[in-house]
């Protein structure tokens, strides 16, 4: 077990990267606490798998260092880093039994057979694979195969970190949920650092204590699920997390106040640097249909179960609001009010209001 630190990491798949745009990872600076549950969240192609492969040692970064505690492991191969990785598609050794699959990493390291036996049984019990220890791995269902991949990581008691690279991609929806809670439960039980890569916000937010949001090879925000939801530091985070995502509304800043289509909008705090392109960000959860406020016309109301997502037009701009109860009819004229301490200003996509507390 160890604390993992990435120091000014850059990576490019080209042999001679010219500009910054040739890099798939740019200036990654992060440190992961021992025993934490982390998620790396971002759209496909944002560099999250690359980052994972650098931590596991499958890739050597073009620039920068990887440290486990104080040791520099940047150039160490994966088998000397004591890490485990679970891949998108379940990797099992087809011809071996479940037992031998779980024992494989231990036997490769010359662990005594008596110790192998106890560990394999412990892990099999934890993963509920006890009954299938003697079956050939090729005969298992995808979710059980994925459990074996996990088990091969867990079986070594000295692992520094277990990494998951979109591990639920090939799992049926109803089993996804089961496997995810199993994972969470395992983390609480064995307290090993886990890093979970996904492009699915639900997976990230339910699994992790802390989520790292990435876009175009850069880290945009690191925070707890609540922080990411409540106060996105970047419009991308606002967009990417939440369903529907944050409303990002163009605005003008005049004398320290923000105006959206001519209406003054109260913000959470003072505006820090009103430079570049300025936008107001507010989540649909904090837009209310009210008696007074910004006049708007309802264009669409979609009932999504517990609540309705109402799309209201302020002049030519659509604003989403979450509404409980029977929704207003299409074409109704309403007023929108934005909850002030949940409304922020973004300049050139980065947050630039003072926090309310």
């Amino acid at each position: 077990m160890a604390k993992i630190t990435l120091e000014s990491l850059y990576h490019s798949y080209l042999p001679n990267p010219a500009g910054l745009e040739d890099y798939v990872l740019k200036e990654i600076e992060i440190s992961w606490k021992d025993g934490g549950a982390y998620a790396l969240l971002g759209p496909s192609g944002c560099g999250k798998s690359t980052l994972l492969n650098i931590i596991s040692g499958l890739l050597t970064p073009s620039r920068g260092r990887v440290r486990f505690d104080d040791a520099d492991v940047t150039s160490l191969p994966p088998d000397q880093r004591n890490i485990a990785q679970v891949f998108q598609f379940p990797v099992v050794y087809d011809t071996l039994t479940v037992y031998d699959n779980l024992a494989f990493p231990l036997r490769n390291r010359g662990v005594k057979e008596s110790r192998v036996d106890t560990r394999v049984h412990e892990i099999a019990t934890m993963l509920e694979l006890e009954d299938s220890l003697t079956t050939r791995a090729s005969n298992l269902t995808p979710d059980n195969k994925q459990k074996i991949s996990m088990g091969r990581g867990l079986v070594r008691d000295d692992v520094n970190v277990i990494m998951f690279d979109e591990p639920l991609t090939v799992i049926d929806p109803e089993l996804k949920w089961k496997l995810r809670s199993k994972l969470k439960e395992l983390h609480q039980k064995i307290e090993v650092t886990m890093i979970y890569v996904t492009h699915d916000q639900t997976e990230a937010l339910t699994f992790a204590d802390e989520v790292v949001v990435m876009q175009d090879g850069e880290i945009v925000q690191i925070g707890t699920p609540v922080e990411l939801f409540e106060r996105p530091h970047h419009t991308f985070v606002g967009h990417f997390i939440g369903s529907p995502g944050m409303n990002i509304l163009p605005c003008e800043v005049v004398e320290g106040a923000a105006f959206f289509r001519g209406h003054k909008v109260e913000l959470e705090g003072a505006i820090l640097k009103p430079e570049g392109r300025t936008e107001i960000g507010v989540r649909p959860e904090f837009v209310r249909l009210d008696k007074t406020g910004i006049p708007a016309v309802i264009r669409k109301a979609s009932d999504i179960g517990r609540h309705t997502v109402v799309e209201a037009m302020v002049a030519d701009i659509a604003v989403n609001a979450i509404f409980y109860g029977p929704p207003p009819a299409k074409g109704t004229e309403v007023y929108l009010s934005l909850v002030a301490d949940k409304t922020r200003l973004y300049s050139d996509n980065w947050i630039s209001t003072e926090a309310s507390e």
Binding site: L58, P78, V91, D94, R152
Partner: protein, 286 residues
């Protein structure tokens, strides 16, 4: 009640006719010959199973079958591991992939009788590169027309040269279909190169290797052209494989009945071994 559309049969009909004329009708002719005796003039007499009994008890048949089995077994033992080894050594990406693939495919493109002729010339003691080198330079007597051992070595070398490529290409296709994650997982699990081969590459190649072994078994068991051109079955009868012997009986001696019975026995052996092998290899799959 569910009505089934029978129109599909019309579309397979051309194939059925084609197969009937190039396989079923000739086969039935052979069956027909195998139970009759003829003295020419297109006159046939019923012979029952006499030819089958005769062939099954004939020492000549036993010897040819023995030579055939030895040949097939030897080339399989060499070609399969060699093919897998070459496939493992081939690059997986980059410019050299196409170069290697083309080089590998070359022997497969040469007509069989040309392969026989090439090796015949190659081993001639006076002018052949191999023959001359062995005899005059290394001082090892090597003459296919005199020594059965030399003839056997040449026949086997020729087959290995001609057909290992097929195994290589099939094994290579199996290898490149293995997802990168398997190798990555193995590296993380601390697996040795041998373990990677034993537990990842070999199991993933199993299907293509099954096909490779089947094809090589059937082809080598029925081989005719190359050894016929190379040695003509000699010296003596030492490289007379089953098919060469069959042609001698059928066309050399014009014993249609025994030749037909022999072909049927030959056919049944090939079929039985192929079926047995395939069943054994695939019995663990759902």
């Amino acid at each position: 009640m569910k009505t089934e559309n029978q129109r599909a049969w019309i579309f397979v009909l051309p194939v059925l006719i084609l197969v009937a004329f190039n396989a079923l009708v000739p086969l039935m002719t052979v069956v027909n010959y195998s139970v009759q005796e003829t003295f020419g003039n297109n006159q046939f007499f019923w012979a029952g199973l006499r030819w089958f009994e005769e062939i099954l008890q004939s020492e000549r048949f036993h010897a040819a079958l023995g030579r055939q089995l030895f040949f097939t077994f030897t080339i399989l033992i060499i070609e399969i591991p060699l093919g897998v080894a070459i496939a493992l050594a081939m690059p997986r990406k980059g410019l050299w992939v196409s170069v290697c693939l083309v080089l590998m495919a070359l022997p497969l493109l040469i007509p069989w009788n040309v392969v026989g002729a090439m090796w015949n010339i190659f081993t001639l003691p006076k002018i052949g590169l191999l023959g001359w080198t062995m005899n005059n330079w290394l001082g090892i007597p090597y003459n296919m027309t005199v020594s059965p051992v030399a003839a056997w070595i040449t026949v086997i070398m020729m087959d290995v040269w001609h057909w290992t490529s097929l195994v290589v290409l099939l094994a290579y296709a199996g290898l490149i279909s293995i997802p990168e994650a398997y190798y990555q997982a193995a590296r993380i699990d601390g697996a040795s190169n041998w373990s990677v081969f034993r537990y990842i590459q070999l199991p993933k190649m199993k299907r293509v290797l099954t096909i490779a072994i089947l094809l090589r078994f059937m082809d080598s068991f029925n081989i005719y052209t190359e050894p016929f051109v190379l040695t003509g079955g000699g010296p003596g009868n030492s490289t007379t494989l089953l098919s060469i012997d069959l042609v001698k009986v059928a066309l050399g001696q014009f014993d249609l009945g025994p030749a037909a019975a022999m072909s049927l026995i030959y056919f049944v052996i090939t079929l039985a071994v192929s079926w047995l092998f395939y069943t054994l290899m695939t019995r663990n799959e759902q």
